[in-house]
C-alpha cells in the first residue's frame, strides 16, 4: 500500500528554509515508488513561499495562513497542525531539526504515541528497512536507529542531507482554516529578532568562529567582517561565551550547537574536546592560532600559525578579491 509522507516546512525571515528542502529530500530517500510526499506550511502571508514549496513536492501543499501563526508558538502550532495531520493520516512526518522542529516534533510524537528519531544526518535503506544515522555525544559517535512500529517522526539536521530538486509537476495547494485553540495557556509578548538578515548558524555553509583568543566583544568585529564577505555565520567557543565576549546563542560544542558547514574557520580557539565535538564534522576546517601546539591544528585541514588580529583581516581581503 502506498504511504503518505508529510514534511512540515518552515519559513524564516520570509524565506522558505533550506532545511525544509532537505527534509523533503529525506522523505524522498525514505519513500518507495507510489508513495506520496506532501508539505504542510504554517505562517502568515505565505503565498510566495507556498508556490515555491509546491514546486518541490508532487503531493499536496497544505497551508495554514493566519496572523496568529506569524510566530511559532507551541500550543497554537500544535493545535493547528493536529487536525490536518489526522485527516492526512501520514505514515511519516519529517521536520527540520530547528528551534521549531525540535519543539514541535516531540509534541506530535507524544500526541500520536509515535517514535521519533531526532537530528538525522543520513538515511540508508537496508533491504526493506530504513536506517537513520544520528550523532550521539554531540558527534563523538554516531548511531543507526530504526523504527520498530507505528508512525515515523524524524527531524533532520541542517546541511547534511542534500536539498530536494524540483519535482516534475507542481503540487496542488490546499488552504486550511485556522481556529484558535479555546484554552490558550501561552502567549507571545515579544520577539526580538537578533539574527535578522544574518545567516543562521546551523544552516550556514561557512562558519567563522572565535575563542578566548578574540580577547573581547570588540575582538569579534574582524570575524564578523570575514563572515560577511563569505556570506557565512559567526560562532564561538564556550570560552568566548563564558568570558562574556558574545551571546550563548553562538556557542558551538557539546553544550551548545553542533554545526556541519562546508568551511569552518576557527580563530583563536585552542580546540578543547567539547568544542571539537560541535564542529569536527565540518567538511574543511581552518585553524588560526598563535600557539603552534594548539590541539585544533591536529584536526584542521589548513593551519595558519599567527595572531588572528593580523591573519583574519588579511584573509578577508584575499576572499574579497577572490569572490569579486
Amino acid at each position: 500500500m502506498s504511504k503518505h509522507y508529510v514534511v512540515i516546512a518552515e519559513v524564516r525571515s520570509e524565506q522558505l528554509r533550506q532545511v525544509s528542502l532537505e527534509a523533503i529530500e529525506a522523505a524522498r530517500l525514505s519513500a518507495h515508488e507510489g508513495d506520496t510526499i506532501s508539505a504542510l506550511l504554517l505562517g502568515h502571508n505565505l503565498s510566495e513561499q507556498v508556490s515555491q514549496l509546491s514546486r518541490y513536492v508532487s503531493g499536496q501543499v497544505h497551508v495554514l495562513d493566519h496572523p496568529d501563526l506569524e510566530h511559532y508558538l507551541a500550543e497554537r502550532y500544535c493545535s493547528a497542525i493536529i487536525p490536518v495531520l489526522e485527516s492526512l493520516e501520514p505514515y511519516a512526518i519529517v521536520l527540520g531539526h530547528t528551534a521549531m522542529g525540535r519543539d514541535l516534533a516531540p509534541m506530535l510524537a507524544a500526541h500520536f504515541q509515535a517514535g521519533q528519531i531526532s537530528d538525522v544526518t543520513a538515511i540508508h535503506r537496508n533491504g526493506s528497512e530504513l536506517l537513520f544515522t544520528r550523532p550521539v555525544y554531540a558527534g563523538k559517535a554516531f548511531e543507526q536507529k530504526r523504527f520498530i512500529d507505528g508512525r515515523h517522526i524524524i527531524t533532520v539536521r541542517p546541511n547534511n542531507i542534500p536539498p530536494a530538486a524540483e519535482a516534475g509537476s507542481p503540487g496542488e495547494i490546499v488552504q486550511h482554516a485556522y481556529t484558535a485553540p479555546v484554552n490558550l495557556r501561552t502567549i507571545i509578548k515579544d520577539v526580538i529578532t537578533k539574527a535578522s538578515g544574518r545567516v543562521d548558524l546551523a544552516e550556514a555553509q561557512i562558519v567563522v568562529s572565535g575563542g578566548r583568543g578574540v580577547k573581547s566583544a570588540e575582538g569579534f568585529k574582524p570575524l564578523e567582517q570575514l563572515a560577511e564577505v563569505l556570506g557565512g555565520a559567526v560562532g564561538a567557543s564556550r570560552g568566548a561565551c563564558d568570558a562574556g565576549y558574545c551571546d550563548y546563542a553562538l556557542q558551538i560544542g557539546q553544550t551548545g550547537k553542533v554545526v556541519t558547514p562546508q568551511i569552518y574557520i576557527a580563530c583563536g580557539i585552542s580546540g578543547a574536546i567539547q568544542h571539537l565535538a560541535g564542529m569536527s564534522q565540518s567538511r574543511i576546517i581552518i585553524a588560526i592560532n598563535k600557539d603552534p601546539e594548539a590541539p585544533i591544528f591536529k584536526i584542521a585541514d589548513y593551519g595558519i600559525v599567527g595572531d588572528l588580529f593580523e591573519v583574519v583581516p588579511l584573509l578577508t581581503e584575499e576572499f574579497r578579491k577572490a569572490l569579486a
Binding site: Y72, L73, A74, D103, A109, A110, H111, A114, G115, Q116, I117, S118, P135, V136, Y137, A138, G139, K140, A141, F142, E143, Q144, K145, R146, F147, I148, R185, T186, I187, I188, K189, D190, I192, A195, A202, Y248, A249, T255, Q262, I263, I273, Q274, A277, Q281, I284, F297, K298, A300, D301, Y302, G303, I304, V305, G306, V311, L314, L315, E317, E318, A322
Partner: protein, 255 residues
Amino acid sequence: MNIFVLLKQTFDTEEKIVIQGGEISEDGVKFIINPYDEYAVEEALRLKELHGGQVTVISIGPPRSAEALRTALAMGADEAVLISDERIPADEYSLSVVLAAYLYKVTADVVLGGNFSVDQGSGQVAVRLAQLLNLPHVSSVTKLDIADGKAKVLRDAEGDAETIEVALPALFTAQQGLNEPRYPSLPGIMKAKKKPFHQLGLSELGLSDAEIAPRTERISLSLPPQRQAGQILQGELKEQAAQLVSLLRSEDKAI
C-alpha cells in the same frame, strides 16, 4: 510551590568515547549531572528561595544515577526519586511514559528539565512529557520569572529572543545562560544524606512492559572517521592568506 526537576546522569563532557562490543564503554568514565539539567536544578532552587515550596529531582537510569540525584540534594533539592528498572527501554517514547506515570500522581506547579542531554541529544523527553501531562511548556528558556500564578520567560529560538507568558502549572526546559549552577556545600552534602530518597521500579508505577514498548531501537554504533592533521601553511602571513584562498578554490572547490 511544588517543583519537579527531570535529571539525567551523563558522561562528563571531557570524556572520550570508546566503543567496545557494540556499546559505548563506561570503563573509568566520570559521570555528571547533564549540564542542561544542572541549570534546571539551579532554577528550581532559586524559585524555591523566592516563593517557598519543595524541590523534587527525578531520574530514570541505572543505579549509578543515584550519585547525580545525591549531588542535586546536596545543592539544596528536598527529595529525590530514582526510577531504575532494566525493563525500561532507552526509547524516548518509553521514557516519557514512565515519567508521566509518576508525575500524574503528584501536583506540580512547575516542571523543569534540560533543553537536551549531552549524550543522546534528542531533546524529546521533557516536551513529550508536557504533552502527556497536558501541561503548556516553553523550551530553551534563558530567563524565568514567576508571579501571580504566571511565568514570564525568555526563550532562545536560534538566536531570536522571545518573551512568552504562560499560566502555571507548566513545564520549562533550561538553556545555557539561564543561571550559574551552585556547587554543593559541605553542610549541603551532610544534609543530603538524611533527605528522602525513593527508588521505584515499573511495578511501583503500575506500568506493564506493553505500555512502555519502545517505538525505535538502536541498530549500531560507530565512531566518526578520524580527522588527520592537514597542512600548516608557511611564509609571510599575507602569502599564507592568499595561498589558503587559492587552495580552497582549486583543491577543495569550496568557494
